[in-house]
């Protein structure tokens, strides 16, 4: 926060916008390399070439690519995300719907994993060197790297097919209450919890160990404060700060990276939407999907940095020298 919070915020936001623009150009360039064309993608392989040409003309997919990109950018400036070629309908309802789905699943996963992993991390630190510490560290370490589809299949089999406790497909029937929706989201959230548990627990443990061994904790103990007060007032506050950044760093994965889980649990998240749009060469949908994930990640990272900076005010400029 070298030159005051307002300037810092402005700088970070401008960087964010620049990155988003860069992102849209990269996606536009990438989009051109997709094989086949929209008309063929909709009408199917055996459709009559004349029909394909007519459909391309109708959708305007036959215009030069740069024109399509410029129109799309103009649209963005007027706040409309453009028209999906494949569904011939405005893109925004699809994107918002998919984003809402992804955020809901991400929220459920976070609500399950954050307290669990931070609790485990702090416990492991408080009991460092003992068996429980090794078990938590090893579990965190190995679970984190197991690909989601391995855990998902295990979870589907165990809870969905054999025990039948929870529904397998994560898409709830229209009109089910919040609790009903939650019921559908627990199974797909489990693989995410398994992946994220390791990251957060390890960071929480490292932070707590560092705080426990810090001099200011020794000062607190020497004041004769009780163990609980020392932990609560001095250790935890400094220990859990870095975990905020770690959790924020998982945003792009949590929001857009769950293509595997979405396909297994039949859940229409933003990741699958982007992949489908790529297959169908639905350029506006693809661009809007990628940018929404990008914007979401930048926003959350910005928020996390601001929160961290707020909790530990940076040194006053002009110190030392």
């Amino acid at each position: 926060m070298q030159d005051g919070p307002a300037a810092w915020l402005a700088r970070r936001i401008s960087f964010g916008l620049l990155t988003l623009f860069l992102l849209s150009v990269v996606v536009f360039a990438g989009g051109q390399l997709l094989p086949g064309d929209v008309g063929r993608a909709i009408l199917g392989p055996l459709a009559d070439p004349r029909a394909v040409a007519a459909l391309d003309r109708q959708l305007g997919a036959d215009r030069p690519a740069v024109m399509q990109y410029l129109d799309w950018v103009l649209g963005i400036l007027h706040g409309n995300l453009g028209q999906s070629l494949e569904f011939r309908a405005p893109v925004s309802p699809f994107i918002l719907g998919a984003l809402a789905h992804s955020l809901r699943l991400a929220a459920v996963a976070l609500v399950m994993v954050v307290p669990l992993s931070i609790g485990a991390g702090v416990l492991a630190a408080l009991r460092r060197g003992t068996l429980i510490d090794r078990v938590i560290s090893l579990a965190g370490l190995s679970l984190t790297v197991i690909p989601e589809f391995v855990t998902s299949i295990l979870v589907i089999l165990l809870f969905g097919v054999w025990l039948r406790w929870l529904p397998i497909s994560a898409t709830w029937r229209a009109g089910t209450g919040l609790l009903g929706q939650l019921d559908h989201l627990i199974l797909p959230a489990i693989p995410l919890v398994v992946v994220l548990f390791g990251y957060i627990a390890r960071m929480a443990r490292a932070g707590t160990v560092e705080a426990l061994e810090a001099d200011y904790t020794r000062t607190a103990i020497l004041k004769g404060l009780s163990g609980a007060v020392v932990i609560r007032r001095h250790v935890l506050r400094n220990a859990l700060l870095p975990t905020i950044t770690v959790i924020a760093a998982q945003t792009s994965y949590l929001v857009g990276g769950l293509v595997v889980v979405e396909s297994l649990f039949r859940y229409q998240g933003i990741g699958s939407l982007i992949l489908a749009a790529a297959h169908a060469r639905d350029f506006p949908m693809l661009e809007a999907g990628v940018l929404s994930v990008g914007a979401m990640t930048i926003a959350v990272t910005l928020l996390a940095d601001a929160l961290t900076a707020f909790l530990t005010p940076a040194p006053v400029p002009g110190e030392g020298g």
Partner: protein, 553 residues
């Protein structure tokens, strides 16, 4: 419902020409069940014989008349493929899209599972002397969901819309060279005449449920089907969410009588695996179509029941006849002889398929000829042919799509070909990349010397005979040019009478066995899976699902 004809053929051998003529017309659906019974008895055929033939050929009778047996008012939960893009009767071309249309829309004629036509929105249809003009009489008292009555002007407008090239209709490839825009004549409010470009014996199939774009829409349809969902069928739209699912409610004033279930719910799936798990997990009652490969679990699961429909779904393994290494027909025949077809059927489909005899005439087609000897695995003959052709084996790349069981079938071909020295390398691509722009020179499908392509079920073999094999066929991946073959196919297509169709079929099958441009190893059954206790679910081999008499008990 196995192949009905073995039962009938011995009977027919004992009948005279006129009786056979009648049976042929009844089989070809040119006369209704009651007409057959009436004229058959007039010809002196005994009542028990007539009933047996009628029962074998048309067990369902006209669909609606079936007695509904299950519990009323239930909700049927169906797993179906994800529709590709917007639901639009004119452009739809994928299984997911057609299933949605078919829930609300109806066709003039219904192509039953036994490939027999039954009246739907048209009560009767008859050709003129040479089959170049077909006249349809429409059913009275049919209302659209939006309230209007269905009359000839709606039918004319609908078919006109499909035949017009400016409308990017998927049905263009069906009507090409058959029906041109402007030749549809409204005789009166309930009669329509179709003037064809050339005589077609099987034209009614082109307006049947076989051609999924041909659901009848109101004349004033403006192209916004996803908002109106306006059809005449037993169900009306309740809610549609693209990429997620759809739900329909019973249509109280459906012309076909009572609709048993209160609601039906469709959930869209990107692949078969999640659907199988959902059915096992109790989230679904029905899966519209499953393929044996990957769903073996359902076949042996006591809690599930499988509906099997014999069908003409098959894989065409083409070998380009115009360039080496397959320009010599002896090499092509040698390769065809390496395949152990019964073992392939057992391995890939658990036996749920018919043997293919390297021609489009699937056993399910009434016009297919039984007498042509079935090709079997014969390595000795194959090696002899290779010797005769002066070839000691060669490397070649088999290009195919990553779709259902095709990659595994390619692996089986790879191992079989190795027995006569042909070293096959596999190139498996996503379907979109395999088809490319679906034009010669710009598509792996049409350019590769050795390729495998998936073909869906069709009510009649006509399109399968013309498009992939005739000299100017648009799908002629094998680059097969044989004037003799072209002449025979033109003759077959024009023929109305079933018996003459079967005579021509025999000569076509014989020609293709010698030339073997394309290997047809199997025609696998169309399978629908349901939970035990779910009754009245009526699928058809081209992907439709009639649920008006279904109940989730």
């Amino acid at each position: 419902m196995r192949n009905p004809f073995p039962l009938i053929d011995p009977v027919r051998r004992r009948q005279g020409p006129r009786e056979n003529q009648l049976i042929g017309e009844f089989i070809a659906g040119q006369i209704g069940r009651r007409g057959f019974l009436r004229r058959g008895s007039a010809l002196g055929l005994g009542w028990p014989l007539l009933a047996a033939i009628a029962g074998a050929i048309d067990p369902l009778g006209t669909l609606p008349a079936r007695a509904a047996t299950g519990k009323a008012g239930t909700t049927i939960r169906v797993g179906s493929p994800m529709p590709a893009g917007a639901i639009d009767p004119v452009t739809v071309g994928d299984a997911g899209g057609l299933l949605m249309l078919q829930q609300v829309g109806e066709f003039l004629v219904f192509d039953q599972p036994n490939l027999r036509l039954a009246p739907m929105l048209a009560t009767a249809w008859k050709p003129n002397h040479d089959g170049s003009v077909w006249t349809f009489t429409l059913r009275k008292g049919v209302t659209f969901h939006s309230g209007g009555m269905m009359t000839a002007k709606d039918v004319v407008a609908t078919i006109e819309r499909l035949a017009d090239p400016r409308n990017a209709s998927n049905a263009l490839s069906v009507f090409k060279g058959v029906l041109s825009p402007g030749n549809i004549e409204k005789i009166d409010d309930y009669t329509v005449a179709f003037h064809l470009d050339a005589p077609h014996g099987n034209f009614p199939y082109y307006l049947s449920s076989d051609n999924y774009n041909a659901i009848i829409l109101p004349a004033d349809y403006k192209g916004d089907f996803e908002k109106t969902w306006d059809g005449t069928g037993p169900f009306q739209i309740e809610k549609y969410t693209s990429k997620v699912g759809a739900s329909f409610i019973a249509n109280a004033n459906w012309w076909g009588g009572r609709v048993l279930p209160a609601r039906t719910e469709f959930s869209f799936f990107a692949g078969q695996q999640p659907q199988v798990l959902a059915l096992e997990g109790g989230d679904l009652d029905v899966i519209s179509q499953i393929v044996v490969q990957g769903a073996e679990g359902l076949l042996t699961d006591r809690r599930m029941s499988i509906i099997r429909l014999e069908a003409a779904i098959h894989r065409q393994v083409h070998m380009r006849c115009d360039i080496p290494p397959f320009n010599d027909q002896r090499v092509r025949r040698a390769l065809a002889l390496t395949l152990d077809r019964p073992a392939i059927i057992q391995g890939l489909f658990r036996g749920l398929a018919d043997l293919g005899n390297d021609s489009p005439f699937a056993p399910v087609y009434p016009s297919a000829n039984r007498d042509v000897p079935q090709r079997r695995k014969n390595i000795a003959e194959a090696k002899a042919l290779m010797q005769a052709a002066g070839s000691r084996g060669f490397p070649v790349t088999l290009t195919t799509e990553h779709l259902l069981e095709m990659p595994d079938y390619a692996v089986l071909i790879q191992n079989a070909a190795r027995e006569i020295g042909i070293d096959v390398r596999l190139k498996v691509e996503p379907p979109a990349a395999y088809y490319g722009s679906a034009a010669f020179g710009k598509s792996d499908w049409l350019d590769s010397p050795f390729g495998m392509t998936d073909y869906g079920h069709r009510g009649v073999p006509d399109v399968l005979l013309t498009a992939p094999l005739t000299t100017h066929g648009t799908w002629n991946a094998a680059h097969f040019r044989n004037p003799e073959y072209d002449r025979l196919v033109a003759e077959f297509v024009a023929e109305v009478a079933l018996d003459s169709q079967r005579r021509i079929a025999a000569r076509i099958e014989q020609l293709l066995l010698t030339e073997t441009p394309i290997i047809f190893a199997y025609f696998y059954d169309y399978l629908t899976a349901t939970r035990k206790g779910v009754t009245g679910v009526a699928p058809t081999a081209n992907g439709e699902l009639y649920l008006q008499s279904a109940s989730a008990g």
